[in-house]
Amino acid sequence: MLELIDLHKSYEGKPLLKGISFSVAHGETVCLLGASGSGKSTLLRLVAGIEMPEAGLVRWDGQDQARLPAHRRNFGLVFQDYALFPHMDVTGNVAFGLKMQSIPREELNRRVSEALEQVNLAGFGARRVTDLSGGEQQRVALARALASGPRLLMFDEPLGALDRSLREDLLAEIRRILHATGVPAIYVTHDQEEAYAIADRILLLHEGCIVQQGSPAEVYAHPASVWVARFLGAGNILPGVMHSGKVRTALGDFEPTCGHAHREGESVHLLVSAHKVQLDPGGQIAGRVVDVIFRQDGFKVLLDNGLTFHLPEAPAVGAAVRLYLPPEALACLPDA
């Protein structure tokens, strides 16, 4: 199992990672989710041993890896822009790691074709990597990382350079391969859909710290801060003030389920789910419909008060509506 303990790293004098600790169990896929520039890729480099942390430990099964150079860690890394060796064909690329381990030729050939089969590229061995499409190149990169039997696989925004439909196919394939091989993995992305689809556990990275972690469902349902809620698009966020046990906002007073007590007059943020609401003439929230956008499973409705809701049927644009918010649609967020 991989353990990261209190990792620190700065970039050009500014702290980038401020004490990152987490672990990855065998067979687990952990997804690091954060905005670009949040230090996700740097974290992978620290684990890979390409860069060194200023403080903190990287441990594997309890062993400190600091003295182990990158080329002896056997942690596979898949890059966003593939980083395939342009002077080698597909086989040369996939066989590279095996050659480093001095695997005998027969076994090497077998494992190369196995890896290529795993990524659905059987028969591509003699092709030049520069002649392949982006999706094919990323499959080769995946096969290359898999072939040498890494202890850990790391993905640095592996689908970032691909278009949408390709992304979904490849994502499903990565999922299948990770499940089949049981290799623990760290998957880095800024795309929440990708994170939900691949992760056993999501870690949210913000300003150099892990601000929340949990299963995709937990994280989405209970964002730990305003930033997380915004980043995940978890719903509408209303600023408010505690007023005799209720949250007073510009749109009225609400009584959300709060995990913790708030002082009178304290400013809080209210998370209003976009999904759990219903059209109801007696609802608490009134607004005029500004825009209606078709979605596969309903309609996204924009109101003139700035709120957005997801409704099963489309009201007319310009119509005045009232909405009922059930208690589970409301949550209060710790102030950010």
Partner: protein
Amino acid sequence: MSLRRILSWSGILLFLTLFFFLPLARILLVGLDFSALGSGTLPYTLRVLGFTLFQALLSTLLTFLLGLPAAVLLARFEFRGRSLLRMLTAIPFMLPTVVVASAFTAWLGARGWFNLALQALFQLEAPPVVFSGTLGAILTAHVFYNATIVIRMVGNSLNRLDPRLAQAAQTLGASPRRLFLLVTLPILRPALISALLLVFFFNFTSFGVILLLGGPQFSTLEVEIYTQALTFLNLPLAAWLTLVQLVCTLVFAVLYSRLVTRQRLVTEPRADPPLRPRSWRQRLFVAAMSALLCLFFALPLVSLPLRSVIRLESERGDRTQVHYGLTLDYYAELFINRRGSAFHVPPGSALLNSVAYAGLTMLLALLLGFPAARALARPGRFERLIDPLLLLPLGASAVTLGLGFILAYGRWLASPWLVPLAHTLIALPFVIRVLQPALASIPDRLRQAAVTLGASPARVLWEVDWRLVRRPVLSAAVFAFTVSLGEFGATALLYRPEYPTLPVAIYRFLAQPGGMNYGQAMAMATILMVVAGAGILLIEKLRLPSSSEF
């Protein structure tokens, strides 16, 4: 084929036939007439060829010895003065050979700064360092000239080396040694090989540097062709040596296309920002290397103009008293016709001749090159066939072209016209290569848009083509002018004593004894350096905006 295309090609094809293929055929005829060659020709040829290869190999080796660390320094590290240093290392390559030779004479020669300083410091009678006339001088000048090729080609390749490839190799288990052998080196190999071949080729065909700095005892093929043709008037032997030289050139061309064109790698250019040096070893490397480069490249270039305005020797006939001080005498003397000088005319007239020749060359090269470049910009089958033909003169050395002119048009040697024609031949491939991409980069849609907006064909040519290509045209013109101004190889064979050019005059004055002759050579070389430098700057200025326009 349309009449227009025939017309646009007729000029340049006629020119090349008359002044390149015909002379080449004459060389072939004369050189293969073995009855005219003496019995000792073969051992003599092998000796000359052997020395040519030897000095070229040694020069190339030394060029890489300096060029590779310099390429790493300039491509991988960020430090103050980096772009200035890069520019400094590129200057020599574009300077005329006589200027480079003069610059080294001014720095390390018997009357150069280094010897003068040592003499003054240790009260020595004779200059302690012998530079001119040694193999070391030739090698040093070759490194000075060609290091920029290694710096540019290998440096560009280093810059494009995706750092992630190294990281990927590391995570796959490659140790630093295997990373270098299996990833870095193979990716750099095309750049290394092409730089190697180019540097070797330039050293192999080097003429001015060897003649001016080495002296007659170092006979390379080029120098021997010149000496045999001009001093011994043995044209058959000169033609034979030229053939040997051409065969070698052909071998290089084949090697180049085999080794370089085939294994071109398609790599995504990635800007890996150069690093500030961190560890003390990196700091030491950056400091030592940049200091070395700075001294090596700047000292000769600074020595030359300084030497041309400072008097540092005793007066004629007076060995005891040395006069120091700033002086413009060397420049003033250029315009005085003295008896017993190297020419029948004042050396200042060489400047005027050079400018006139350069102007003529510029005009001819543009008149012949523009229609060809325009046709090549939208190539048909004929153009693709003819394209490589236009580059052939690049493969022949200047001395070869000069000898060809002598053999083909010997009876007109007294005419001053042969020199600008030879210069045009040399400048033409460059002019076409500058103009063609510029003309090709004008999208046809622009012309079509102009037509739909009511422009006549003539207006299209004026409003669209001309406006978009005037920068490249100007750039090509300056290029032709500068090439002609500094050309030495062909001119040395073709010039008339009553119409000397600046490089020839510098060569003659450097070979003469006496402080005044030396000073005048310095003055003329300085003028040439300033004009050529201005030309280089102008070309750079013209190039930058237009390349970002499209």
